[in-house]
Symmetry: C2
Subunit: 331 residues, 2 copies
Amino acid sequence: MSVTMRDVAQKAEVSIKTVSRVVNNQGEISEATRQKVTAAINELGYRPSRIARAMVTQRSHTIGFVIPDISNPFFSEVARGIQDTAQKHGYNVFLCNIDEDATEHLQILYSLADQGVDGLIVFSSLVSEKDLHHFAATFRPIVAVNRLTTHPDISQILVDNYRGVHLATEHLLARGHTAIGMLSGWAGVAAGQIRRLAGFKDALTAGNIPIRDEWIIQVSPTMANGRQSTRQLLTAYPEITALFCYNDLLALGAIRACRDLGRRVPEDCAIVGFDDIQLAAMLTPALTSISYDKHELGKLAVTRLLEMIDNPGQVFAPLAMDVSLKIRETT
Amino acid sequence: MSVTMRDVAQKAEVSIKTVSRVVNNQGEISEATRQKVTAAINELGYRPSRIARAMVTQRSHTIGFVIPDISNPFFSEVARGIQDTAQKHGYNVFLCNIDEDATEHLQILYSLADQGVDGLIVFSSLVSEKDLHHFAATFRPIVAVNRLTTHPDISQILVDNYRGVHLATEHLLARGHTAIGMLSGWAGVAAGQIRRLAGFKDALTAGNIPIRDEWIIQVSPTMANGRQSTRQLLTAYPEITALFCYNDLLALGAIRACRDLGRRVPEDCAIVGFDDIQLAAMLTPALTSISYDKHELGKLAVTRLLEMIDNPGQVFAPLAMDVSLKIRETT
DNA sequence: CTGAAAGCGCTTACAG
DNA sequence: CTGAAAGCGCTTACAG
């Protein structure tokens, strides 16, 4: 990082401005000087500083991406879509984890803003709505992924949570199950949590199955919690023959719990997940799950964010990704 | 990003330099002016621009992290360690994927350098040694994670691959296996590939078992490849009773393949993996694997990188993480 | 087609 | 204890 535009200009015996013109491919330049400058650039190994450029253009060509936990395989699949798309458009992405362990969520968001990111994708439902609104007051644009938010300036990319769970529950009903439990997610702003719960209840009602609230357990969606909650649930209510899980991680934990309890899957207890993570299809037994394109979800979020960056002030309607049911071996 | 130091200075009726002093907590300042300035900062909601600061200090407090694929659960666990540690030290991290699909690896590295990162952690063995050396000629510091490199300025953080596989193979021998196959990783600069293969062969030799090269298959380490290669291997050589896999993903694919072929695990075919990803312990059957602290691996890499940033020119000895064997249900 | 000047928002010597 | 000036490496009007 020591050779600057000035060095190139000196070597090529032109002004700095002329170097800038060939670097940015702008304006009319005589072929002779262009070649002189290009030669000097190559000889010196000059590379323009993105920081200096960002300083004057007020555009850093970086974005921030906030998730609960990159080590969660679901989020990491989306992250790949984010990263690939951003890179394709010449943007670099800052990664930030905000989960239960994190403190000072607002500070983390501000540190990204201080860093000069051109926009932010928030995929963590653990960032409170209050914090997000506070932050949105001074920073934009923001895209929220699969979380409900009421802020008018925040654009939303959603997954059709309601329909997904409805499909899954109908599938269980069609298989003859009438005693269906649910492992639900966090309470709060997670779009998934609210809409998936609604889809579950509505599907039961539509199938004339009364809702048993004690069969619905709300937990933080990890494999360990899935295992533990399922053990408790099936021990307390052995009559349950099927389980819908908020996400695949909970479902994998539930499968494990069934095995702990000596219950066969799917014969003694059918299990459905949500998200269809890469592993889900490969495991034994392969998991029945609600599926959608996670790489595409990341791509949509970035595309939307770049649109917002290029069109300040414009309002975009929420977008919901379509989902489908993948029937495998656990139902 | 519109309120600047100048605004604060005006409001507080002091010079810009004085504002800078209170922001950076440096120099002696009278309590009165400090309070005046602090009040102005809060009132205006001033936040210093990291870009402007980076411009003059030549330190951006950002680092780059290059991996093959963030959606791979193994890498994402390490990424979490990287991210947590960097954040704790006030650094933000740029994430970059460089896998088989990526073209122009060098361009991706340079784009990170252009972005002004203070250092780089390279965890992708898919970046060729040639590209890395070329890049290292103009950029430093660089930390390489679990890859062999001969560049004197590149610091190495390794995993004790050799010992890990030696342990695993000894374990299989102790269980009475004599016909042991191996699913190996990519060829090339991956430290894992070379050292793990060596550990495997040496352990066999130490156990007086002749090495059967046709039982060693080299594949890109994905679950799908593990499934397919295992099918082929066990079909061609049904006498094989145990399989060591380069990583857990291959091992999970191998388990699946055994099931496809009607072979019970571990009764008909024992399987051992490497990395001990979070899922490995939770699955059915739970995977026997070589384990080490992946969060810690990320932490070590960042810590080393920050040391290099703070001590330019200093040479650091390679560091190798200790490993252990976790015996579970697949052996 | 090419250049000199100002400025992006800070920090770093250097004075006072 | 506090401030005026120069400069980090670029781009943006404005001239010529």
